[in-house]
């Protein structure tokens, strides 16, 4: 099938959803549900817009979408309750002998 490209690299809204950036970095953000107060500061600071406060079993806490999280660590550094930790991905846990 022939590849179709848009004139002038013009794109329709939300096309960037198809671009999964989650495999870019070496780390991912993880939220500690116990510490999270659902204050939404991380939501506002995340450059990718991939951390969102959600409700589950009447509890509210931030959830990271690892399909898009580039592991920049902004959320972890702005969290006032130290509820977000950056963890190295399994792939990069190398043992150096």
């Amino acid at each position: 099938m022939k590849l179709k490209i848009n004139l002038g690299a013009i794109s329709e809204p939300l096309q960037s959803e198809n671009l999964k950036t989650g495999d870019w970095g070496t780390e991912w953000a993880y939220v500690d549900k116990e510490k999270c107060t659902a204050c939404r500061i991380c939501e506002q600071f995340c450059p990718e817009g991939c951390i969102e406060v959600k409700e589950q079993d009447k509890e509210k806490f931030a959830v990271v979408d690892h399909r898009y999280c580039k592991g920049c660590g902004v959320c972890a550094s702005v969290c006032p309750h130290e509820a977000i930790k950056m963890e190295i991905k399994e792939l990069f846990r190398l043992e150096v002998c």
Binding site: G8, I10, S11, E12, S16
Partner: protein, 388 residues
Amino acid sequence: MMRVVRGFYSVAHSVKLCRPNVICAYPITPQTEIVENLAEMYANGELEKCRYITAESEFAAASILVGASATGARTFTATCSQGLILMSEVLFNAAGMRLPIVIVNTNRAVSAPLSIWNDLQDSMALRDAGIIQIYVENNQEAHDAIPQAYRIAEDRRVLLPTMVCMDGYKLTHAYEPIDLLDQSLVDSFLPPYQPAAYLTTKKPLAFGCYAPPHIYMEFRVAMQNAMERAKAVMNEVFREWAEVSGRDWGQHLEVVYPDSRVFVVSMGSIVGLLRKVVEELRKKGYDVGLIKIRTFRPFPVEDLKRSLSNAEKIIVIDRSLSLGHEGNLSIELKSALYGSSANIISMILGLGGRDIPKEFLEKLLEDAILGKESSGFKGVKDFEEVIP
């Protein structure tokens, strides 16, 4: 209607007749009076459905036009030299977004040292931007080039920014009798701009999006294809213009004395002087012709090959230089004629407005024809570089 006007006005009047929707510019010598004329027309209410926006820099002016053009507006700006270079980051984008912005560049030397005078160095710096470049010889040609530039730029087969390059001072400040076009002629030649895609709140779009390695190259190839198609589109537009206006400026090239064995090749206002010089040389018995290059991008390779197929000697007159290599037009011509046995002599003169007197040029060309003059800078004083 024949009127004696300056080069600035010949452009401004023509732009007005093309019914632009957004004009945005930042002043720079020797361009300013073009947009001053347009600002006056705007203030007098002569420009309908038009916004004249003053910008804080050329970078801003070009950016405003990218936005305006993306909404489907017909846009215009004029600049040169440092201003064109400041616009360049934006103009590469405009080309990639396939926005048919029309620019008039009043060719001026680039800094440093600071020079406000004329050569072709500024537009040469934008050679690879994906912008169509048309070079004009006189103010009537500049006047006529504007509606043609819009037709070419806005053609669905092309959709690229188009720049009309006219020599600063030599043309811009010169008074010439100009046959000013009528609104009805321009209206029948240039239909309203019908954008292929445009920004509206009803259908949000993003222009010039991100292209990772697996997709980027295809967009650049698409631009190259548009440039190739532009050659045929320009031929159509040039021919149609000759019919409707009664003024035939030739196609991508204008060839004078096509059967000659020696050719002088150049572009811009110097062609006017070269016409006279070639006539003088022919009176002296030299078999010399002249090729005026009208379109530098897309570069008319096939036309040049055809017109120069029997040439034994080609003298290229350059008024710009790729530092570390040679004259820009020479580079292009040698590449186009690869494999030809013609002797190509490349002369660089007139940089930064250095005067090119007729007698000097005639002696230079005569000596080159006789084999007494070789490639290099001409009209340069003997100098030594010292530390102050």
